[in-house]
């Protein structure tokens, strides 16, 4: 692939000049417009009035009842919890849209995975899970939280899909549940808190920490699965085991036995 790219490189370089659809005057107008915008934004940045500390004091005054010690986590999951709720909804919507657009992912490997990649995967995956769990836990009092943990786990998931090129059929069945769990538990908690306190997503003060951790744990799993699937770019159910049987795939059991 690299050689193919280097062969094409001169062609790409020469094409660059002719790439824009705009005429010369159009290009000049774009440059002028963008520089004008930069000037306006820079000027307004320069002349910004001094900031008030209203938001900071609002957050710090209410930290005691938020259930967590990290102000960013408190804002994300308590004070502006509906933001995060909608955000997980957006993630779910995006992955469903990707499924409907791209019907067949190219997940089957054409060559057996290199032993180095398999070894790396086997060494790294436990640490990925450990680090993901730690970041999720630490989010209540230090930088970290569901999204960071989900991103770390998704990195592991992407490594896994690129190396093994096939998922266990059971995993395929579990994926829809894993994808929806984050949003589902979030909504359930929101409705339950509404029953207790009367307001949507207003946690009871004594239970806030536990509820936030519950939501975050479910969200972490969903985010990890969704990000991995966004990378794969299609529904994993498309690859049936029968289809992949004759291709070069690797399973951990076989790998372990041969050692």
């Amino acid at each position: 692939m690299t050689t193919e790219f280097s062969k094409k490189l001169p062609e790409i370089m020469t094409r660059r000049s002719a790439e824009s659809l705009l005429s010369r005057s159009g290009q000049a107008m774009t440059i002028i417009g963008v520089s004008l915008l930069a000037l306006i934004l820079g000027y307004s940045l320069w002349t910004l009035p001094p900031f008030s500390d209203r938001m900071v004091t609002l957050v710090s005054d209410n930290m005691a009842i938020s259930g967590v010690e990290n102000p960013v986590t408190a804002v994300l999951l308590n004070f502006r919890g509906y933001d995060t709720l909608l955000e997980i909804g957006v993630l779910l919507l995006a992955v469903v849209a990707v499924f409907s657009i791209a019907p067949s992912p190219a997940l089957l490997a054409t060559s057996p995975p290199s032993p180095m990649a398999t070894l790396l995967l086997r060494l790294l995956l436990p640490f990925v899970v450990l680090v993901g769990g730690y970041i999720l836990w630490v989010g209540s009092y230090a930088p970290g939280g569901a999204f960071q943990a989900g991103a770390v786990l998704a990195a592991g998931g992407i490594l896994f899909t690129t190396v093994t090129a096939r998922w266990h059929p059971l995993a395929n069945k579990a994926i829809p549940f894993a994808m929806g769990a984050g949003l589902l538990i979030f909504v359930l908690v929101a409705l339950a808190t509404m029953m207790v306190t009367g307001n949507f997503l207003q946690y009871p003060e004594t239970r806030a920490g536990m509820l936030i951790l519950l939501i975050e744990a479910a969200a972490t799993m969903s985010i990890a699965v969704i990000l991995t699937l966004l990378f794969v770019g299609g529904e994993p159910g498309e690859i049936s085991p029968a289809q992949g049987e004759n291709k070069h795939t690797v399973s951990f059991n076989k790998e372990n036995r041969s050692e």
Binding site: L21, L37, L41, M55, V59, A74, V75, I101, A102, I226
Partner: protein, 102 residues
């Protein structure tokens, strides 16, 4: 000129560079990349301004907003790339052209 202000200026620069790339390039993947560059500029701007508030700690609200924004940007990018793949499948090219498809 404070340091956070400088970061905010860099954010403005990134935003404008991204917008320029978005308009100028006819290749769809380049457009998606340009949009991501300008998005990063906005995030940098917000995070830099969060440090402008008086007091020792920066304002956590813009930080939380940026965190939300990053995740939304990632999912939007993935959707855009999936759409680009589909366009490549249907049209055979990712480059926009002046000619109307017949």
């Amino acid at each position: 000129m404070t340091v956070p202000n400088m970061y905010a200026l860099v954010g403005v620069g990134l935003l404008c560079m991204g917008l320029y790339g978005l308009v100028m390039h006819s290749h769809l993947v380049r457009k998606i990349l340009a949009l991501n560059v300008s998005g990063s500029g906005v995030f940098l701007f917000l995070v830099a301004l969060a440090d402008q508030t008086p007091g020792p700690t920066p304002d956590p609200v813009p930080h939380a907003m940026v965190l939300t924004g990053i995740v939304v940007a990632v999912s939007a990018t993935a959707l855009a790339l999936a759409l680009a793949c589909r366009i490549q499948q249907v049209n055979g090219t990712l480059r926009l052209s002046d000619n109307e498809p017949e």
